[in-house]
Symmetry: C2
Subunit: 246 residues, 2 copies
DNA sequence: TCAAAACTGTGTCCAAAGGACACTGTGTAG
DNA sequence: CTACACAGTGTCCTTTGGACACAGTTTTGA
């Protein structure tokens, strides 16, 4: 459970210092053989290959030719490791200033860029949830999306809400189409097991049964509705903005 | 990592049998002292109180006054436990046949009911992601949402996409407002740590800085944009349906 | 009636996980 | 040149999910 105690606060401060480069380098002692970025890189490589749940201090240390405990000289624990991994993996935030076509074109471009960035790291959508300290680059992505709404009649709350909803939408559809497959839609569409269950209980789920009978158990788009939902969301935003303008 | 091997398939079959009540009761041997439902209930209680990450076989067994290994007589492992927990916690799917006002009113009601059901089990949004075998009740929720779109000119793919996007939206906004707090919005709005970082780097994030300055660092709605996003989504769907109709 | 078979719950054991802590070696500051 | 600060290693502990053998219990078939 995520509590908000004093210990959590201190841990967050440490993570923030790590992510934002606020730690002064040591003057005395042996040369560090590793760097935080190097550790993060090795960890990202493991997560990209074998998934986030295959990530352990041991494996990262082994990949770097070092003992597990050596990593604790660079970060306080595994949550810090995940934080620097995210910060490394998200990449540089996009500059949408050159995108022509107003807020809608900017936001659409943003969504596609975000999806593409996350596609290279299938574990990323699942890792960027919950209580977290964001690094400068990840915050840059948020800034980029909020800035895309410059010039619209939306107030601050609405802009943040819109951006948050957009993030959530990309995250959800992305995490489904890569790492885990959604049980009732997705790349493989319906899981064989679920398909059998639905076929055996068709009368109990008439609407679903009809939908899947309609297209030979291949219903649901390949991208888990990412494009569909994105267009609906932007349409809805456009409607609000138009109402607000007139 | 989620693989789709033969072992996974068998495991899914076992989970399906567990969830759909397809196991024949044993004839010989001692009376079982527990039930799957009872185990699930104890586990749900623990997760509700201390969160899903505090859940372990040991704790569930202890809550039932039994050894950890006894649970393995009723389910194959922890993933099975989570499956029956979900099936228990989602509750009975709603019947929206009595809702007047067409698809939009039905879907809106559905979204609120889903949010309310998930609110009672903060771990639920985070648990219902990824590759999974759904139980009869959880599938009933999907059926309910798909059926809400009966009568619209949307085809099967679009209906599934719409429902999936809606599920994702509720899940995302819900998981943020309960268990983990979003770092840049949410109930407590900006985390103190993030707030300090943003204040110290305002020139680097002008759009965000302006948004938070606008309302005294209390930007972002209390429900993480759930209502906002829901209305935008429904507006977008309505637009599509209107275009399709005319 | 009685033994074999099937089943429940317990106790023991294991590997892997995150992390604490003491220790050895190394480099710089006074 | 000495003392301190730091890097990396090795050892230890707790908790986790799970395998497996065992003892006790109930039903089935001979």
């Amino acid at each position: 459970m995520v509590r908000a105690g004093a210990g959590e606060r201190d841990a967050a401060q440490g993570t923030a210092a790590l992510l934002w480069g606020l730690r002064e380098p040591p003057s005395r002692g042996p040369r560090p053989g590793l760097t935080v970025a190097g550790i993060a890189g090795a960890a990202v490589g493991i997560a990209d290959t074998d998934g986030l749940e295959a990530l352990s201090m041991q494996r990262v240390a082994a990949a770097l030719g070092v003992t597990k405990m050596a990593l604790y000289r660079y970060m306080a624990g595994k949550s810090d490791l995940e934080a620097v991994m995210i910060e490394l993996a998200v990449g540089d935030p996009p500059d949408l200033a050159g995108v022509r076509g107003g807020w809608r074109a900017r936001l659409e471009e943003f969504a596609r860029l975000l999806a593409r960035a996350w596609q290279e790291h299938p574990w990323l959508p699942g890792a960027t949830v919950g209580d977290r300290v964001m690094g400068p680059r990840e915050l840059g992505w948020v800034e980029s999306a909020v800035a895309a709404l410059d010039g619209t009649p939306l107030d601050g709350t609405e802009r943040l809400d819109a951006v948050f909803v957009l993030f959530g939408h990309i995250r959800t559809t992305q995490s489904m189409s890569t790492a885990g497959t959604q049980p009732w839609t997705g790349d493989k569409r319906l899981t064989p097991v679920m398909h059998g269950l639905l076929a055996a209980n068709g009368e109990r789920y008439p609407a679903l049964h009809q939908v899947f009978a309609e297209e030979g158990s291949l219903a649901g788009s390949a991208d888990n509705g990412r494009e569909f939902g994105l267009l609906r969301l932007l349409d809805g935003l456009e409607l609000l903005i138009e109402r607000r303008t007139s």
